[in-house]
Amino acid sequence: MPPTQKLQASDRRYTIANREALFGISLVVFHFLWWFGFAYGLGSKEVDEYTYILGFPAWFFYSCIIGFILISLLVFIIVKKFFVNIPLDEEESDI
């Protein structure tokens, strides 16, 4: 393989890898906002004023339970929709 072509091939893979890392960062920031926002947005009032969903206090239900389900779903969507299959070493042809 001539060197220029090799460089281009790896550049393409790095562009993909960089883009996917940005997805990771965006997701982790969104995760934090959801988790923190619901926990203290709904949980900071008096305990007597809490509302309950399926027996759990609403803050906990949204922040922790729905939060976990939502993040799993987002990971699924991001991986299926936006992540690209690439070969990990040069010798391999496209998978």
């Binding site: 809490y50 976990f68 990971v75 992540f83 299959n85 998978i95």
Partner: protein
């Protein structure tokens, strides 16, 4: 002595043991011993990758310590623990493909190997080897002790006997099998952890008369137990959110986790691992800690947090099933320990001995030395764990935060920032470790946050500043 639980517990451990030995047999015929022993020949599929990440990360604290604290603090502690879902996707998304591509090019089989090729500096190799050996060795000893205590409390055997059984099992399959045996047993252990969590959760909810009942009982005892602030309202939002860093984002820098991000077979396995890993880690972390809280109205008045899990399992489940379910925390401890053992061994053999003592080592000798070092390490840890010295306990407190402070920026910025160089990496590691130890010792929770946050901030500044200041002294970094 509780015969029924003992029997099922050991039966489960025995099955794991046999699977580990079987995996090691398959390794005998391999050609590239180093890559195979320490990295499983980079052949992990998606499911195995997800499970080994989960099992390595989930340790004594996820199954014993954490739920014990949740028992005392209430839902606020579950909130703090559940952010560990991040570990399921973040490490693999950030290190992900780039790490696998680059370490393949560099032909690195350890984290230090990667740092060595990236920064081309003996200082970096030695400093990072020492951090791994010191911090992980202590972390390992602490897990050893936790494993033995669990066997002791469940079976009634003496602590030393329990420790002996525990260490013996782990040692045999790690020395014989290497990475592949470790990840294979990790997979079985991960499955046991998942199912054990599910069974115990259902049993606890039934025993407590349903979620609604349990929550109202908790509220009646102390309303703070169902608030996000902890039983004594001591968990501040700032403190809780700093765990997003400590047990979420920062986990990327733990060598035992990061190495798994270079061991998978193809990008398809990475994709599958992302999805499975997130679900499995989240499920275990959320529910294990919930079980801890739910145990409170069912079995009030447990004074030692570490006893909550064994006692609630024996209380709500038939004895034989409690033995199987409690194999989950034991599996978690074993799978953390075996990865740590292998990592410390690889640091000594691959990163120090071969680099500095004997670079032209022949295959047979290398193989003997790897096995020998792993075995000797295990025995030393055993001896330490029989009578744990205070130093080990003290160091273990620093292990996770210390490793994160040392490795986060050198690993991540090494991948994504071309201008990062060895001066930056050295400064960052040094600043990270020292500032972390200083914070922990003299100024706990600076600005209301866990001290790892401030240390990571300082080590980031050190990395960037020193890399920029010395950019003329070093040839520019070229991606191969």
């Amino acid at each position: 002595m509780n015969w029924e639980a003992t029997l099922t517990l050991f039966l489960t451990v025995g099955i794991i043991f046999i699977i580990g030995l079987y995996a090691s047999k398959r390794q005998m015929g391999s050609t590239n011993y180093m890559q195979d022993y320490y990295l499983g020949g980079r052949s992990l599929g998606g499911f195995v990758l997800a499970m080994t990440m989960t099992a390595t990360y989930g340790s004594a604290s996820s199954f014993i310590g954490g739920p014990g604290v949740a028992y005392n603090e209430g839902l606020g502690w579950v909130l703090l623990a559940v952010i560990q879902v991040v570990t399921g996707y973040f490490t693999l998304m950030i290190l992900g493909k780039k790490f696998a591509i680059i370490t393949k090019k560099y032909q690195s089989v350890t984290i230090i190997d990667y740092l060595k090729k990236r920064y081309d500096s003996h200082g970096v190799v030695i400093l990072s080897s020492l951090s791994i050996i010191i911090f992980l060795f202590s972390a390992m000893a602490a897990q050893w002790i936790g494993g033995a205590r669990l066997i002791e409390s469940l079976t009634g055997l003496s602590y030393t006997t329990a420790l002996f059984i525990f260490v013996g099992t782990v040692l045999i399959y790690v020395t014989l099998g290497g990475f592949r045996a470790v990840v294979t047993t990790d997979t079985v252990q991960g499955i046991i952890m998942f199912i054990g969590t599910l069974v115990l959760l259902i049993a606890v909810i039934i025993a407590g008369g349903g979620v609604e009942n349990i929550i109202q009982d908790l509220k009646q005892e102390n309303p703070n137990l169902i608030s996000p602030y902890g039983a004594e309202r001591t968990l501040t939002p700032t403190y809780v959110s700093s765990f997003w860093i400590l047990v979420g984002v920062g986990v990327i820098a733990l060598p035992q986790i990061a190495i798994r991000a270079m061991s998978y077979k193809s990008s398809a396995s990475l994709h599958r691992a992302l999805i499975i890993g997130t679900i499995v880690v989240g499920f275990i972390m959320l529910n294990m800690h919930l079980i801890g809280v739910f145990a409170r109205p069912i079995l009030p008045g447990i004074e030692i947090g570490d006893k909550v899990m064994p006692e609630i399992a024996l209380h709500v489940l038939p004895t034989w099933l409690a033995g199987v379910v409690l194999a989950a925390p034991l599996a978690a401890i074993m799978s953390s320990v075996d990865s740590l053992l292998l990592l410390v061994s690889s640091t000594i053999v691959k990163d120090l001995y071969i680099n500095y003592v004997n670079p032209d080592i022949e295959y047979k000798r290398m193989r003997r030395i790897s096995t020998g070092v792993t075995a000797v390490l295990g025995i030393v840890v055993f001896l330490l764990a029989v009578q744990p010295p205070d130093l080990i306990i003290w160091l273990n407190l620093f292990a996770i935060g210390g490793l994160e402070a040392a490795f986060l920026w050198p690993i991540v910025l090494g991948l994504y920032w071309r201008k990062g160089n060895k001066y930056g990496a050295l400064a960052s590691m040094f600043t990270g470790i020292t500032s972390y130890v200083i914070f922990e010792q003299w100024w706990q929770q600076p600005f209301g946050m866990h001290s790892v946050v401030s240390s990571l901030f300082l080590s980031l500044i050190a990395y960037v500043l020193f890399s920029l200041m010395t950019k003329d002294r070093q040839r520019p970094y070229i991606e191969i």
